[in-house]
Amino acid sequence: MAVPLKVVAVEGNEATVDLGGVRSRARLDLLGEEVKPGDYVLVHTGFAIRRLDPADAEETLKLFDELLSASDDGGD
């Protein structure tokens, strides 16, 4: 899955994840950190490979905007 899924529940080493209202399960064995409901995870073949939170998306947009403003100033 390229799109992060939202964690809605955690039971042991499995999480219930949600995309657009559809629920499925993901194993947490590959994550070295805790996840909690409200977090997002990248899931590949049924295993979470990375935890994300929405603030990370904001950071990414900032990166894009840095490049874009540098271009606007002709500075790039």
Binding site: L19, G20, G21, V22, R23, S24
Partner: protein
């Protein structure tokens, strides 16, 4: 259960009939055999339809056929078989689908639905209460559009010889002006009357038992009231209902047959978030999923806004949008302008991703 014998005792014995109501029973081979049992079944089912004639001879006559007295105009005929699985799904069932599908085929040719025939093929053991439920749904659609059920047929196949229930319908309508799916001209605006992919996704989710929070409902409904509005404004050059293969199939066929290209903007194509989410998870495009309550309408540019306004006045057309236009380039192809401003072809799908969708 022995055929026929359990359905009753001699009326009048012990002073009152001990007959079990038909609805508690299951279909047996005798129900399709043309005899007393079938007549009784048909008599009970007939009651479900408020309109039963569109001419001199109608359903109540139980004659070999029906006759139609049609108003002026071109007569349009359509036929469909309905094999949807499962028989019931969120938003509808095979009855609603059979009637709506028939009405909609007539509607997108520009025809007001007048009458319908109904052939039933039923598996032995099928609960009659279920049958009644589906026929009630079918009747409700016909009532809504003012069309009559004028004649029918009932056959029964042995247990295991077929899958539950199949319906076959023929629809008859009359058009003041026939609209084809090949009538697009460069410059015509392309309208979709509402969100796409609902029916396909609803049936797939129901069939596969996919747990969805906030159910996905089929859009199945008769669109004649909506189409009637568009036609009354004028300027409609082409129409198609995006059933099997979804919007992508309908647009590609219209482009090919009209000898034009079509360009559509992804941003303008309405898709419900829950349909989008599940489609993404399954790797299917909502644009390839069947709709059963939508129309693709080609309109000459000067009338497009008026048609949109007229559509939006009807509950089924609230989300109607202009999604693109016909163009002279890329003849026979559909170009998708993606949300981020990129371009690619929207291909004809190989087939509907969901078998037995309608």
């Amino acid at each position: 259960m022995p055929s026929g014998t359990s359905t009753g005792s001699v009326p009048g014995s012990k002073g009152r009939s001990m007959r079990k109501p038909l609805s508690e029973e299951k279909i047996t081979a005798l129900h399709g055999a043309g005899g007393e049992l079938m007549n009784r079944l048909v008599a009970e089912l007939r009651e479900l339809f408020p309109l039963r004639a569109a001419g001199e001879v109608g359903l109540d006559d139980l004659d070999d056929g029906a006759s139609l007295s049609l108003p002026q105009g071109e007569v349009v005929v359509t036929t469909d078989s309905h094999v949807v699985k499962p028989l019931s799904f969120p938003g509808g069932d095979i009855g609603k689908l059979a009637a709506s599908g028939t009405v909609n085929d007539l509607a997108v040719m520009g025809a007001r639905p007048v009458a319908m025939t109904l052939g039933l093929i039923i598996e032995e053991g099928f609960p009659i209460s279920e049958l009644k439920k589906f026929l009630s749904s079918l009747a409700e659609v016909l009532r809504e559009v003012g069309a009559a059920l004028v004649t029918g047929d009932t056959k029964v196949m042995g247990k295991g010889e077929m899958d539950g229930l199949v319906m076959n319908t023929t629809g008859i309508g009359v058009a003041e002006r026939i609209i084809r799916d090949s009538g697009l001209r460069p410059g015509d605006k392309i309208i979709i009357t509402g969100p796409v992919g609902d029916h396909g996704m609803a049936v797939l989710a129901a069939r596969e038992g996919i747990p969805v929070e906030g159910e996905i409902k089929s859009d199945v409904s008769p669109i004649w009231p909506l189409v009637e509005r568009a036609l009354s404004i004028g300027g409609v050059t082409a129409m198609k209902d995006p059933t099997r293969g979804g919007l992508a199939a309908a647009l590609n066929e219209m482009a090919r047959k009209s000898g034009v290209g079509i360009t559509v903007r992804e941003e303008e194509i309405p898709v419900r978030p829950e349909v989008r989410g599940l489609a993404e998870l399954l790797g299917i495009s909502p644009l390839n999923l069947a709709c059963e309550g939508r129309a693709v309408i080609g309109v000459s540019p000067d009338r497009a806004e008026a048609v949109i306004s007229a559509l939006r006045e009807h509950p089924l057309g609230r989300d109607a949008r202009i999604i693109g236009e016909a163009i002279p380039e890329h003849r026979g192809k559909v170009v998708l302008e993606t949300r981020v401003g990129g371009r690619r072809y929207l291909e004809m799908p190989l087939g509907d991703p969901v078998p037995r969708i309608c």
